[in-house]
């Protein structure tokens, strides 16, 4: 018996060791960037490496905030995210409600079409959009980007929220219908408050999407002051990155922190939300 116990302890220690190594591998790039960003000088580029900065300073953070239009980028990203969120959720809620509650001709086709379109990578029609926008003078314009993002995220919102609406029992609505509530009143007074968790999660996912999108942002925004965070960071590393690499890592950390916080707050709902909306047809 004690031999078996000893074997168990060895096995468990080994398992713990493996997981500690895995966690270190998972966090290594992030720790390295954090330590470089805190080192304060570009001496980190010297040949000998260490994961801990010899002195801690916020110079790189100060530099990115004052020398580069980081705050401008932040404000651009925020404006784009909020506008996209309002449009895609506002439109999406209505359509999701219709698809969940009404049985109308063309409903299944519409849902299938949306699913197929969702599988279509937007990069593939990027040139077509670019050309159309060029003719309409929408290049370098926030409105243009918001329309693209909202259109893309609208499909996702419809599917994601429809899945949740389906789980709300219809009886609640029927009861208030008997009491004489109109369709609109039903939606705003009864269904939306009940669906609040789904709406919040979907909104946050839209927000994260816009925050993380770089390809359209860098292709359609051509001027340094209209860059989003993604565009700004992209440009920061693609121009002389060897010189600004510690500054870039500071910016990368700054950009990631809000996303990390949000992510860990809604993580629980994220998996179920993704799988519920993802495949079921």
């Amino acid at each position: 018996m004690s031999g078996r116990k000893a074997k168990n302890i060895v096995g468990l220690s080994l398992l713990n060791l493996i997981f500690i190594i895995l966690c270190i591998i998972a966090l290594l790039p992030i720790i390295y960037a954090l330590s470089l960003s805190l080192s304060g000088d570009s001496g980190a580029l010297s040949s000998h490496f260490s994961l801990l900065p010899s002195k801690i300073s916020l110079a790189n953070y100060q530099a990115i905030l004052t020398e580069k239009p980081f705050l401008q980028w932040l404000s651009n990203s925020l404006q784009l995210s909020v506008a996209t969120m309002v449009i895609s959720i506002g439109f999406g809620v209505l359509a999701a409600y219709a698809c969940s509650r009404f049985r109308f001709r063309g409903r299944r086709t519409m849902l299938m079409m949306l699913l197929l379109l969702n599988a279509f990578p937007q990069i593939l029609s990027m040139f077509a959009i670019f050309r159309l926008f060029k003719d309409m003078n929408l290049i370098d314009s926030k409105i243009g980007l918001v329309i693209i993002y909202a259109g893309t995220m609208c499909i996702f919102s419809i599917w994601n929220m429809k899945g949740y609406f389906d789980t709300i029992p219809v009886e609640i609505e029927e009861a208030s219908k008997i009491d004489g509530a109109s369709d609109m009143k039903l939606l705003f007074k009864i269904v939306l408050p009940l669906a609040r968790p789904a709406i919040i999660v979907t909104s946050v996912m839209v927000l994260i999407f816009v925050w993380n999108e770089y390809l359209f942002a860098t292709t359609f925004m051509l001027n340094e002051h209209s860059y989003t965070l993604a565009g700004g960071l992209y440009q920061l590393q693609s121009s002389d990155y060897s010189r600004s690499w510690p500054m870039f890592s500071a910016a990368a950390i700054l950009v990631s922190i809000p996303i990390l916080i949000i992510f860990f707050c809604i993580q629980k709902y994220m998996v179920s939300g993704l799988t519920a909306g993802g495949v079921k047809g």
Binding site: L27, L117, I123, S242, F264
Partner: protein
């Protein structure tokens, strides 16, 4: 009254449908139109219809590079998915080991790569890990007295580097899915299997894998799609505008993007886009059907 009931859902869907038609469907149709023309930088306005020439060039001429890119993409998807599912399976198995007290801590730490914005992760890896001068990997090699490796300058090492990065970014989601599926398995199966003398291998083969299969199927299919469509890693690591590293392999998405925005072969790029779109539609129709059959 009856008419109003019929109109209602369309009224509700109208704003979304208009937006989607404008920004998703119309550009796809327009891409289809461009794919039949000879539009390029010199024919920006005076392009003309050339029929199926672009499709023929993409599909039948080996030197167009599309078929090679398609092979690379399939290889990329298959290799990534195999590695990812196997690695995630064993990690999740470890996390579910009863004696592992710190499993919640490990789980949270392992989630970080998933939570980071993708482009930030990729750029961090490009400069922080793979860079020849101050990338961490080469600094580690140097401290051990080994010679530096130029990770991104030739095709095979660059492809492997992209795969390592993709694993780093995608494993957390897979681990989380498999872990969730494993936790829903009734423990009594294992207890009776143990009494019957089933070993580690038999328990996995006859209990764990069959039990998590229905939950895993949608997750694996979803991830296969995202891996197939993966653009950011290959583009940002090796093919950024003005910062090519020397590796020349392409996936079909980087190929289409390059023809549209670098070499300005708009017609060819659009034809390639339409071909990819058709592949994706067929693939998703097929998987949707097989998923539904499995659920019944």
């Amino acid at each position: 009254m009856k008419n109003k009931k019929k109109l209602m859902p369309w009224l509700f869907s109208f704003p979304s449908l208009i937006l989607i038609a404008l920004i998703i469907i119309f550009p796809i149709l327009y891409t289809g139109y461009i794919s039949f023309t000879n539009m390029n930088l010199y024919h920006w306005f005076d392009f003309k219809m050339i029929g199926f020439d672009n499709y023929i060039r993409a599909l039948l001429k080996l030197d167009s590079g599309f078929l090679m890119a398609l092979v690379v993409t399939v290889l990329w998807t298959v290799l990534n998915m195999i590695l990812q599912v196997i690695a995630a399976y064993f990690i999740a198995l470890g996390l579910n080991h009863k004696g592992l007290k710190l499993s919640r801590v490990y789980k949270t730490l392992l989630m970080f790569p998933w939570a980071m914005p993708a482009y930030v992760s990729i750029l961090l890896w490009r400069v922080g890990m793979f860079n020849t001068e101050f990338g961490l990997l080469n600094q580690i090699l140097k401290t051990f007295g080994l010679s530096e490796i130029n990770f991104l300058s030739t095709n095979v090492p660059a492809f492997i580097s992209c795969m390592v990065l993709n694993l780093w970014m995608a494993l957390p989601f897979m681990i989380m899915m498999i872990d969730g599926a494993m936790q829903s398995i009734d423990q009594s199966y294992y207890e009776s299997a143990k009494l019957d003398g089933a070993g580690f291998f038999a328990r996995n083969k006859y209990i764990t894998i069959p039990a998590i299969k229905p939950i895993m199927a949608p997750a694996v299919i979803m991830t296969t799609f995202t891996t197939f469509k993966q653009f950011d890693i290959v583009y940002l690591l090796t093919r950024q505008k003005g910062a090519l590293t020397g590796a020349t392999f392409q996936t079909i998405l980087t190929y289409s993007h390059e023809n549209a925005f670098v070499s300005n072969n708009y017609g060819l790029s659009s034809a390639v886009s339409i071909i990819i779109f058709i592949i994706i539609i067929l693939f998703s129709l097929y998987t949707n059907r097989s998923l539904k059959e499995e659920n019944q």
